[in-house]
Subunit: 320 residues, 2 copies
């Protein structure tokens, strides 16, 4: 019962060989170097996978399944990546077919947000919840929905785009081109853009921290300044948490989940964001919806891509 | 295969005897007269049901199931109505037990929004969709979610409260006490409240239509004036459609449904609301989400409560 897992990202790729129970037998991270295009990248992935299998004395026939997590949009049924953002040439790429030809099958493909959602549900903070929302705040804001004990994908596999809720209709432009989305306000890139504007105007401690170079501003700088109780950073963080609370509240009213799992930025800052966020969500929602609701940081901060791709295979194989 | 259906509302109650295929054998509507409290109301429901069964020569043993649609919050698993708004005394009422004692079983209970959603899915505009959102705009805004071919209820049966999305954080107070919800802006009562304020200030054709009596303003007056191209009514309707489009867009990004079915006010005005709404939703969402999406008026405007309660029984019996 061995799984090959492949997590494809715009900057790095994780390849792993694991057992069903989540024990990793071999694992490697390689830089994507996306500019070289899909062919050399896929070749390196295949080579790496073969090396890992060799290291642990397994043959391709010893694999029960292969899980692939990749940036969307993609079609998990057909196993095709339609277009991976920031990865030139990744257009209509039949990943499933390519990998099945090399390793035998079956290959399961899922977008990275759904894959991370499955991973947190199977191995992380979401264990045991029947209805949960996973939300990750990195460059963008992605999400995944576990509803009635299964991943909900939607009409054409786009469900869970929780970052594109409208929070502030006249707000800043989102990466997707629309205005006022949650992602435009609370994602890593959205926060950085808003920070630049604010710090450019009001200066203060964060301006000193980056020696006046606004390009150096980041969520990390914000968090550092907020921990030191810089008033500007605290005000900005409060506002960001308020926007995020509105986004979570909409999800709570619409989906009435048992748990919301928050990844990346929130997972790394725990109490600083989650505690005030929780308070604000309690104000914005009905008690009957928040009474039993858990809002938790994601747990899989080590090898997240490996857990994600492993989980995609396990889900595909119906192994839980 | 005969079903007894009971739809309990704050102003009227529908009782029906139907066949599984949706053919109604007998049907009656009675006024709730909610002030008299649950006991006489339940007695009248039971009496009416007995009369209807007699009229069509059926005994309680000929029933395969009983469906009850009622205002929530309620617990469909336990068959208890926790509290029916605007119905004094309907607190922790074991409807399932009461009716099973009288008619045998099994009794299935569902909140009215979910019941109407099931009805539209089984018999109405939602036929054949795997993933759909039902949204009804009457006094409040209720909703139901069919996801992966089944009703999604959420952690404690509150899923689908789509009317309580935040659309305008500083907006008017909602029936639920929070501020800026979709329901506060676009429900029948929300629209009426906003209309009173606007017409009180700007007067115009609608003011003349109600002879200066602001209490007579209603969505119907608005629609009438908008049909006659009254500029104030058209501006108000545009704004309302815009709010509604934001609400639908959030649902589309989060759930990626195949269809959104709109009941009550929208169903009665068809093109006047749905066409501009559709245009605005197309602007606010990605093409990949709206390309195949249907936005449709609900179809079951005749005997909606009977279809709703029948559908609750069919769903409970696993008859589709």
């Amino acid at each position: 019962m061995n799984i090959l897992g492949i997590d494809i990202g715009g900057t790095k790729i994780e390849v792993c060989v694991a057992r069903e129970d989540g024990e990793f037998l071999a694992w490697r991270r390689i830089p994507t170097k996306a500019q070289r295009g899909p062919e050399p990248i896929l070749k390196e992935i295949i080579l790496t996978a073969r090396q890992l299998l060799e290291e642990v004395n397994l043959k391709k026939d010893d694999l029960t399944g292969i899980g692939v997590s990749a940036p969307g949009p993609l079609n998990p049924e057909k196993g095709i990546i339609y277009q991976a953002p920031n990865m030139p040439g990744w257009v209509n790429l039949p990943v499933k077919k390519i990998l099945e030809d090399k390793f035998g099958g079956p290959v399961f493909l899922e977008n990275d947000a759904n894959a991370s959602c499955l991973a947190e549900w199977k191995f992380g903070a979401g264990k045991g919840f029947r209805d949960m929302v996973f939300l990750t705040m990195s460059t963008g804001i992605g999400g995944g929905l576990i509803l009635d004990n299964r991943l909900y994908r939607g009409a054409n596999f786009f469900a869970g785009e929780v970052g594109h809720q409208y929070i502030l209709p006249e707000g800043p432009v989102c990466g997707c081109g629309k205005r006022g989305h949650l992602e435009a306000l609370c994602s890593g890139s959205g926060m950085t853009k808003r920070l630049k504007e604010l710090v450019g105007k009001e200066k203060g401690q964060m301006w000193e921290m980056v020696l006046g170079d606004l390009e150096k501003l980041s969520p990390e700088i914000l968090i550092e300044a907020a921990k030191e109780k810089d008033p500007l950073a605290c005000r900005f963080l409060d506002q960001t948490i308020n926007y995020l609370a509105y986004g979570l509240s909409n999800l709570i009213f619409i989906l009435n989940p048992q748990a919301i799992i928050l990844g990346t930025i929130v997972a790394k800052t725990e109490g600083l964001i989650i505690r005030p966020l929780r308070r604000r969500v309690n104000e914005l929602c009905w008690d009957v919806l928040t009474g039993e609701l858990k809002i938790l940081p994601a747990l899989l901060t080590q090898k997240p891509g490996s857990y994600a791709s492993l989980s995609v295979a396990l889900e595909g194989l119906g192994k839980w």
